[in-house]
């Protein structure tokens, strides 16, 4: 029994069809036909035809590149590319550096499974140049051309001073690192500072939006809606259709999708920078933005945002506001907020108010009155007991 038959039997696969009657040649043809229907044989794919169809250049066998120059005034959604360039430094932790060192990057992969068996088959890199912008979209058209494909990408990434992606920290970048390691090319992104815009979107909008996918950000922040876009899962299939059957049309859709992603990436800094200055402008959560400014050592920004949005603050945001007042010594402003929140039985506010009365105003009577309103539990009991003892000592001391 042949190996294939044994495997089919063990795995419960249906038995192979009984060959039709006919000459040996007919039977052979039938078998061959069955194979091409199964789509398993590589068709001798017309790579040159693919390049022409995509208006791409063939850099090496199996490596295509479509290049496009874009003017800085190119409009995408509500902004231009150059407005994006101007806004981006506001989202950088350190100096943003010379824009010609920036690389906006987006990849298309053979799947989401991860690991060494997941391919990066298309990489788009958008970069500001001296007199405009340049988009290069690399496509891997043959499996055995990956080294050349990645070498071309490494060349485009050379001199990168800032990488900009959407969800690149957990997806695109580790996948590319794996591919570079497999073909033995030093990873050009290993040391590059990385701005992942997903983190900025998520911080501002996770509580407000249902999801933080790039298409959601486009719709809500750029006013863009994709109509004939490729669904995410279709990209791997498009590539397989090319590899197995030489179909070129789906790959055109992949490049279009990739280009849109990159343009959105380039202009998203405009609404994001606005959001971090004025969350109300885009409907972001003010306390998240304020928290971000506190963490970056800019409490005055945080306070300004909280004050500007006073009407729509959650209790947690108002507590943050009170903390910021307290830190700069404005006890009156802080205690006003605590008192207001204490009316709503907010435990953290009651606690802060009790401490304020006890330590800042040295008023244990008021402190005890507040502490007694704390939620029952050992903390409340300890605090009340301590305050009561303090009061008792004070009274005894007064009496003696």
């Amino acid at each position: 029994m042949g190996l294939r038959e044994r495997l089919d039997r063990l795995t419960g696969a249906p038995p192979p069809p009984v060959p039709e009657e006919g000459t040996p040649l007919v039977a052979r043809l039938a078998r061959l036909r069955a194979r091409s229907v199964a789509g398993s044989e590589v068709r001798v794919a017309d790579e040159q035809g693919l390049a022409e169809h995509l208006a791409a250049e063939r850099l090496a066998p199996g490596v295509l590149c479509r290049e496009q120059q874009l003017p800085g005034a190119e409009t995408w959604g509500s902004s231009t590319l150059d407005q994006g360039r101007a806004a981006l430094p506001e989202l950088c932790d350190g100096p943003a550096g010379d824009p010609t060192g920036w690389r906006f990057l987006d990849t298309e992969t053979s799947g989401l499974a991860g690991g060494t068996g997941t391919w990066v088959f298309q990489v788009g890199i958008l970069r500001p140049m001296a007199g405009g912008w340049r988009l290069r979209q690399f496509l891997l058209a043959r499996l055995d051309a990956e080294a050349a494909f990645l070498a071309a990408i490494a060349e485009e990434l050379a001199g990168v001073s800032r990488l900009v992606t959407y969800n690149g920290k957990s997806f695109d970048r580790p996948l590319l690192a794996t591919r570079f390691r497999l073909v033995g090319i030093a990873d050009p992104l290993a040391e590059a500072p990385h701005l992942d815009l997903l983190a900025w979107v998520r911080r501002a909008f996770a509580e407000v939006w249902g999801d933080c996918r790039l298409v959601s950000a486009e719709e809500r922040l750029l006013g863009l809606r994709r109509f004939d876009d490729l669904p995410g899962a279709a990209a791997p299939q498009a590539w397989l259709d090319w590899l197995r059957q030489g179909r070129v049309a789906p790959l055109e859709a992949v490049l279009r999708h990739n280009r849109r992603d990159l343009l959105s990436l380039a202009v998203l800094p405009v609404p994001l920078a606005l959001t971090y200055r004025d969350p109300a402008a885009t409907g972001a959560a003010p306390q998240s933005i304020a928290g971000h400014h506190v963490a970056r050592g800019a409490p005055h920004h945080a306070l300004a945002i909280l004050e500007a949005n006073a009407a729509r603050l959650t209790p947690a945001a108002r507590l943050l506001q009170a903390t910021l007042y307290r830190r700069r010594g404005d006890w009156d402003a802080a205690s006003r907020i605590w008192a207001a929140l204490a009316e709503q039985q907010e435990p953290a506010a009651l606690l802060a108010l009790a401490k304020f009365h006890e330590h800042s105003r040295a008023d244990p009577v008021a402190a005890l009155a507040v502490a007694e309103r704390l939620p029952p539990g050992p903390d409340r009991d300890r605090r009340c007991a301590r305050l009561a003892a303090k009061l008792g000592r004070a009274r005894n001391g007064g009496a003696s």
Partner: protein, 791 residues
């Protein structure tokens, strides 16, 4: 007789058992104390390491530890197979730590379970801290948090993990481990003996993948294996890595005197050849040990028996629920947290009696014990010694008792003590080229790195397998390489521990909340988790209320039932393909591929203590199907009819002969009873024979309906022994080679049994009055075995 030093409690217990139960002790052996053989530390050992050893009181090595050092220095792959507690760990730790210190190399340690890996890191850290060596040893398992994984990959000198993690997390992401692989000089594989059968076959393929990845990073690490007693440590290690391996088997460690007793329960019904149960004897010995102030472990062969014996011992020792338990159960299927808690309690000496399955055979550190009681022969000489080896504190005397059940193997062993005491341990076998297992790993390997034309992997036709995977849409061939192109992660769907996949979880849905209390593997599920089944955890009974077969979940609720349940199963086989056959007189023996359907029609309810059968329940489960390999025997109808004209007698003769052959074959195949199945049918799946609830053999049809044997047109009873894993794991081909010896052994076993009409020790249980029948079941079985023997 033992030269007992009466001061020792173990010696006193042995003397007492010998006095009171002389008739039950059929064999005894005393292994005298062994003095240590020591050799100096190697002169070239890094002084920091010598200092760390000195800080832990080690100034010299045992001879086998020094030998290991010398072999590693020669650059050999190595296996160390010395007894439990002989200091095997230092054999590999010493050269590895030295190389890490002096050459900055990396090492991968693999243990079959997470728990053993965690023990090992604790051990390494203790040595590390003894002299501030600064070596970083980390565990890497499913519990390692995401943010710590990066540190393990990039900063770990020694990464301690398990085969499952290597399989699912490390190799498929090998580029993340590039730095580690580039420095990898040693792969340490402890508990080698556990890598046999299906698991071992998977791991051999895993090592093929590991060595392939190592070649990619330009390294060729040395493999250092450590093993408990088995017959072929070097052979197994060589089969696992496909390379020659040096073996160290001569221990220089000291040992205290060891008493071994073979124990046969007394006969309670001489006519039926019935003996008291092994269980009753085991509990008695365990009770005596605990009352003598000794710590004892009881090994049973099934998870069910762990729970039953635990209950009986708890009924004696743990009647007061306010006091910490003195009796603990430990078995596979418990949750890790529960197992850890049990291990800690044992190590701290808070537990006097542990009842366990083979789960504790492995090197789980549970501290020192004095007595090991084996409830039934574990199935192999090697496993017996491994379990007996659990008892024995350094230099103090210890006692091991093997209590025989009424099964033929057990009876054979206790009646022939010289066989057991003289037998060398079995060889552990693997079958890495089992087609389904190999194919699984070819898939995983292709995902990790493309195969190149001309590359080899395993013993089957690799290009044909790659084409097969291509036709499934997983691979594409281009430029002389086979590339993975599917959007999937093949290691996720391959379990190293089984051929079939999908464990069942047991969920306690009582008291509103749902809580996972145990896990059961796929093959065990139909026989233990059917609706109505009593499932026990730490001797607490739960009843299965609902089984979600597709979702792999069993919902249970605590119950107060005074019985436990035991499933009944019927097996029907059909011959698909005969690989080879042999003619011997009127008998044909053959081996080949079979299709097997197993049905669980119902279960028995068995009352505690009395062990009365108090009722039956129905099981509604889909039939379990299996394609596997088998060896079978058939007799020419005319010859059978001439010898046994009564078909009812013929069927009973075949059932008895099968029972005896099955047990003999297990011994010969060095397997365990559950690895090999037995069945009697017609070979075409139209009828099969089984013991009915009345204890008589009967024929049943495809839908389990009773058939009259005389009404069957074609009557060619076929005796099957089959490999109990999908695709087979290579057990049946060697059995076919030995078919004649097997039949002769079985014939000798039955003929030599002293029972009048048959008994559980030869052809299986018989009914009262059978000895008065004209042709006893035993005689019928002997007649069939004679036919099979060609006479």
């Amino acid at each position: 007789m033992a030269s007992a030093s009466p001061g020792e409690p173990v010696e006193r217990l042995v003397a007492r058992l010998q006095r009171r139960y002389a008739g039950r002790i059929t064999g005894q052996l005393v292994q005298p104390a062994i003095a240590a053989r020591q050799r100096p530390l190697p002169a070239e050992l890094d002084p920091r390491l010598a200092q760390a050893l000195a800080a832990r009181g080690i100034g010299q090595l045992y001879s086998h530890q020094r030998e290991a050092w010398d072999r590693v220095a020669e650059g050999r792959h190595l296996v160390i197979a010395t007894p439990t507690a002989s200091g095997k760990t230092l054999c590999y730790n010493l050269p590895v730590l030295d190389a890490v210190l002096t050459r900055g190399v990396k090492a991968l340690y693999l243990f079959p379970t997470k728990a053993l890996a965690q023990d090992q890191v604790a051990e390494l850290n203790a040595l590390n801290q003894a002299a501030a060596l600064g070596i970083k040893a980390f565990t890497f398992d499913g519990d390692t948090p995401g943010d710590a994984r990066r540190a393990v990959r990039t900063r770990g000198d020694i990464v301690v993990s398990n085969p499952d993690m290597l399989h699912q997390a490390i190799l498929p992401h090998h580029t993340k481990w590039a730095q580690f692989f580039e420095g990898l000089a040693f792969v340490v594989v402890d508990e080698l003996h556990s890598y046999r059968g299906v698991f071992g076959s998977h791991v051999a393929n895993l090592f093929r993948r590991l060595r392939r990845i190592c070649r990619f990073y330009g390294v060729a690490p040395r493999f250092l294996f450590a093993s408990a007693t088995i017959g072929n440590p070097a052979g197994l290690a060589e089969a696992l890595i496909g390379d020659s391996v040096a073996a160290i088997t001569d221990s220089g460690a000291p040992a205290g005197p060891r008493h071994l007793l073979l124990w046969n329960p007394p006969v309670v019904n001489p006519d039926l050849g019935l003996r008291a149960s092994a269980r009753s004897q085991t509990t008695r010995i365990a009770r005596l040990a605990a009352k003598a102030g000794l710590k004892a472990i009881v090994f049973t062969r099934s998870r069910l028996m762990v729970e039953v014996i635990t209950k009986y011992l708890k009924d004696v020792f743990d009647r007061d629920p306010r006091r910490p338990p003195r009796v603990l159960a430990y078995r596979g299927g418990y949750l890790p947290s529960e197992r850890r808690a049990a291990e800690t309690a044992m190590r701290a000496g808070r537990v006097d009696l542990v009842v366990s399955t083979s789960a504790l055979e492995l090197g789980v550190d549970i501290g020192a014990l004095d007595v090991a009681v084996l409830n039934g022969y574990p199935g192999t000489v090697a496993a017996t010694w491994q379990r007996l080896g659990r008892a024995g504190r350094r230099l103090r005397p210890s006692l091991g008792v093997l209590v025989a059940t009424s099964e033929p193997l057990d009876q054979y062993l206790v009646r022939h003590p010289e066989f057991f005491f003289g037998a060398s341990p079995e060889q552990a076998r693997i079958h890495p080229d089992q087609l389904l297992i190999l194919l699984d790993h070819v898939r995983c390997a292709a995902f990790e790195l493309p195969f190149e034309d001309g590359e080899t992997f395993g013993g089957e036709d690799l290009p044909e397998m790659l084409r097969y995977l291509r036709d499934q849409g997983l691979l594409q061939h281009q430029g002389g390489r086979w590339y993975w192109i599917a959007d999937s992660y093949p290691a996720q769907s391959v379990s190293l521990r089984s051929v079939a996949e999908g464990n069942f979880v047991v969920i306690d849905s009582g008291e509103g909340a749902q809580r996972v209390i145990a896990e059961v593997d796929y093959t065990g599920a139909p026989g233990t988790l059917y609706e109505g089944a009593i499932y026990m955890v730490q001797a607490r009974p739960y009843q299965v209320e609902r089984l979600d077969w597709v979702g792999r979940k069993a919902y249970v609720r605590a119950t107060r039932a005074d019985y436990y349940t035991d499933a009944i199963d019927y097996t029907r086989l059909k011959i698909l393909d005969c690989f080879e056959s042999r003619q011997q007189g009127a008998t044909t023996s053959a081996h080949g591929e079979v299709h097997l359907v197993r049905r669980y029609p119902g279960y028995k309810k068995i009352r505690y203590y009395s062990h009365d059968n108090i009722g039956y329940g129905r099981i509604e489960l889909p039939d379990q199907e299996l394609h596997t390999t088998a060896v079978w025997w058939q007799v020419r109808p005319a010859a059978l009819e001439a010898l046994l004209p009564d078909r009812q007698q013929a069927i009973e003769g075949f059932l008895g002969a099968t029972y005896a052959l099955h047990h003999v074959a297990v011994l010969r195949a060095m397997a365990e009873l559950r690895d090999l199945g037995r069945a009697v049918g017609d070979g075409q799946g139209t009828w099969f024979a089984t013991l009915g609830s009345d204890g008589r053999g009967q024929c049943r049809g495809a839908d389990n309906e009773a058939l009259e044997p005389t009404a069957l047109g074609r009557f060619i009873p076929t005796l099957f022994l089959y490999d109990n894993y999908p695709g087979g794991v290579g057990l049946s081909a060697p059995l076919f080679d030995d078919a004649q010896i097997l039949v002769r052994d079985a014939r000798a076993l039955v003929a030599a049994c002293s029972c009048p009409a048959g008994c559980p020790a030869c052809i299986g249980p018989v009914l009262p009055g059978d000895e008065d029948r004209a042709l006893t079941p035993k005689a019928a079985a002997l007649a069939v075995l004679g036919l099979l023997d060609g006479t």
